[in-house]
């Protein structure tokens, strides 16, 4: 599988990464090489293998439904860049 420059630009936008104008061809080449490397696994017959959801052979422990965390807003907001009226302020987002 090989990625086009447009694929690279799209992936970069989804990941919010800034890629230099001239860098896309190099990333396309390198990422394609990685995918080609992984693609070798396609040769293995996995028809009888259950997809692995987690490398540990264990089961999720469940927690009792109880409120154990109190209000620690002051502590959390002490390290936030900007807050107002209890809210975290971020650059404006409107869809």
């Amino acid at each position: 599988m090989s990625l086009s420059e447009d694929d690279v630009k799209r992936i970069a936008r989804l990941a919010r990464l800034e890629i230099g104008a001239g860098d896309a061809p190099r990333y396309a080449h390198d990422l394609s090489a990685i995918l080609a490397f992984v693609e070798q696994m396609g040769a293995v017959d996995t028809a009888a293998v259950t997809p692995m959801a987690h490398p540990l052979d264990a089961v999720q422990r469940l927690r009792e439904d109880a409120v154990t965390e109190g209000d620690a807003r002051a502590a959390f907001q002490a390290v936030a860049p900007r807050v107002e009226r209890g809210l975290y302020l971020v650059p404006r987002v409107i869809e």
């Binding site: 959801a53 987690h54 422990r61 469940l62 927690r63 965390e69 209890g86 975290y88 302020l89």
Partner: protein, 477 residues
């Protein structure tokens, strides 16, 4: 050309837990911003999510109630996207292996045939926070209290064919989650939110048209209006030779229209993958059976039982089982009064009428089922007439005491003493010789007038059956 609409619904139901799905922060509604957002909810480095047992239990409960398959093994996945009210940069959800799959719900749309809607899946996920776009010096404010609140997303197959069917399904689901106490279903507070996938195709065609997704449907009325609008819009575009863009559209209730929300270029790619912070959820038979043991009588079964055991019409049974609280109230009133029909009459008429007028819930009714039962017993034992019962009811509603207290205080006890009634009958007959003549000449209609006069003379307290009997005896005698 004749068009057919095809609709599928995704409903986000907030599960009724005390704490969040992966943290011990409170889920209570209405707290000061960010006072219920802990390190896990904020996505701070180094924290780990731990799954809430109650959220799992409630998902299983809903699954069992819709006859679905409860997956013995389900997996949490990360759904990746960037938005400031999603601090981790991903939402923990379930993707390939949801906890509930293949259920069904039977609906009865108004004036249409019953229909079974397939529920493809229901999966557990966490809610995001809330963004406030009002002006904070050109910035947005973020409240993360809601982040991490447990949701069950319930997804139907594209089985629905009209806005009315969509609403019937949602109302049914809403009743069910409240019956099960899986969710409080509060739509104003966002505990029950719906997105609709809508497309149209020429009637008779198999192939589905391109669909749009409608968001922001936070009331049954908006769901109906938004879907109706969107169906019309799509038909208009197609008949004008255009094509439908696959996109998300937002319903604007003020303008009654849907608007494109995200352009195609911005199409999301969520890049789901299993969340390495969470292990597969494995449920054994004992857990599932324990949950099954907690299922209450379901609304459909209860409706049928009401019709059968209490001799109610289909309509009465439907209204009285609209919520578990109302159905419980009715059954307690029947037990207290011993009269199912009159109880239905009062609950559906006076009680629901008064609640509706005051915008109150049945749990806040000032006349509880025991009090109502007391009133009905006084009608049944002829202490008061049905007509006066209304007056007594109003006083009880105003907090003037139980039926016996109000009857005594206002002197409303029905006159069953035949001597007293006879006296009133004689008076009225003497005062209306003309009408008496007319009756004897064969004009039966004046009987009603005479009864009315006698009731008036006794301030409505005479027993109507006795009045009729005595009156006829005197007129014919």
């Amino acid at each position: 050309m004749e068009w057919e609409a095809v609709i599928g619904l995704e409903t986000h139901v907030q599960l009724l837990t005390k704490s969040k799905i992966f943290s011990g922060a409170s889920t209570a509604y209405g707290a000061e911003p960010n006072t219920q957002a802990c390190a896990v909810d904020l996505g701070l480095p180094g924290v780990l999510p731990v799954l809430n047992r109650e959220a799992v239990r409630l998902a299983v409960k809903l699954g069992l109630a819709i006859g679905a398959t409860i997956q013995p093994r389900s997996v949490f996945a990360r759904k990746n996207y960037f938005y400031p009210d999603l601090p981790k940069g991903y939402q923990i959800s379930q993707y390939e292996l949801p906890i509930v799959s293949d259920g069904r719900l039977e609906i009865l749309p108004e004036g249409a045939a019953a229909k079974t809607v397939t529920i493809v899946r229901a999966h557990l996920e966490e809610d995001a926070g809330k963004s406030l776009h009002e002006d904070f010096h050109g910035m947005s404010g973020i409240d993360l209290n809601r982040a991490g609140t447990p949701l069950l997303e319930i997804v139907t197959a594209p089985d629905l064919r009209s806005a009315a069917e969509a609403v019937a399904y949602l109302k049914k689901l809403h009743t069910l989650v409240r019956y099960l106490e899986v969710s409080d279903g509060n739509m104003q507070e966002g505990s029950f939110r719906c997105d609709a996938n809508v497309s149209v195709r020429p009637r008779g065609h198999e192939k589905l048209g391109t669909r749009t997704e409608l968001k922001n449907l936070n009331s049954f009325r908006f769901v109906e209006r938004a879907i109706e609008f969107e169906i019309e819009r799509q038909i208009e575009v197609l008949e004008g030779g255009g094509t439908i863009a696959q996109e998300t559209r937002l319903y604007d209730p003020d303008r009654h229209e849907t608007r494109s929300m995200r352009s195609k270029e911005e199409a999301y790619d969520y890049r789901y993958f299993p969340d390495p912070d969470l292990l597969p959820v494995v449920l054994d038979e004992a857990f599932i059976e324990a949950v099954r043991g907690t299922l209450p009588e379901l609304p459909d079964a209860r409706r049928e039982r009401f019709a059968r055991d209490y001799g109610l019409s289909a309509y009465e049974a439907e209204v009285l089982t609209a919520s578990r609280e109302l159905a419980d109230y009715y059954e307690e009133a029947v037990r207290a009064s011993g009269n199912a029909k009159l109880s239905a009459h009062f609950v559906m008429g006076d009680i629901l009428g008064a609640l509706n007028k005051e915008g109150r819930e049945i749990s806040a009714a000032p006349v509880g089922p025991a009090l109502l039962g007391g009133l009905i017993r006084r009608i049944d034992d002829n202490t008061i007439s049905g007509k006066l019962a209304k007056q007594v009811f109003e006083s009880m509603w105003a907090g003037e005491g139980d039926a016996d207290a109000v009857i005594a205080k206002k002197g409303l006890r029905q006159i069953t003493d035949s001597g007293a009634i006879e006296q009133a009958v004689d008076q009225v007959l003497a005062a209306n010789p003309q009408q008496v003549e007319q009756f004897r000449a064969g004009k039966d209609k004046v009987l009603g007038f005479l009864v009315g006069q006698i009731m008036k003379a006794t301030q409505g307290k005479a027993n109507p059956a006795q009045v009729n009997e005595l009156l006829l005896k005197k007129l014919k005698g």
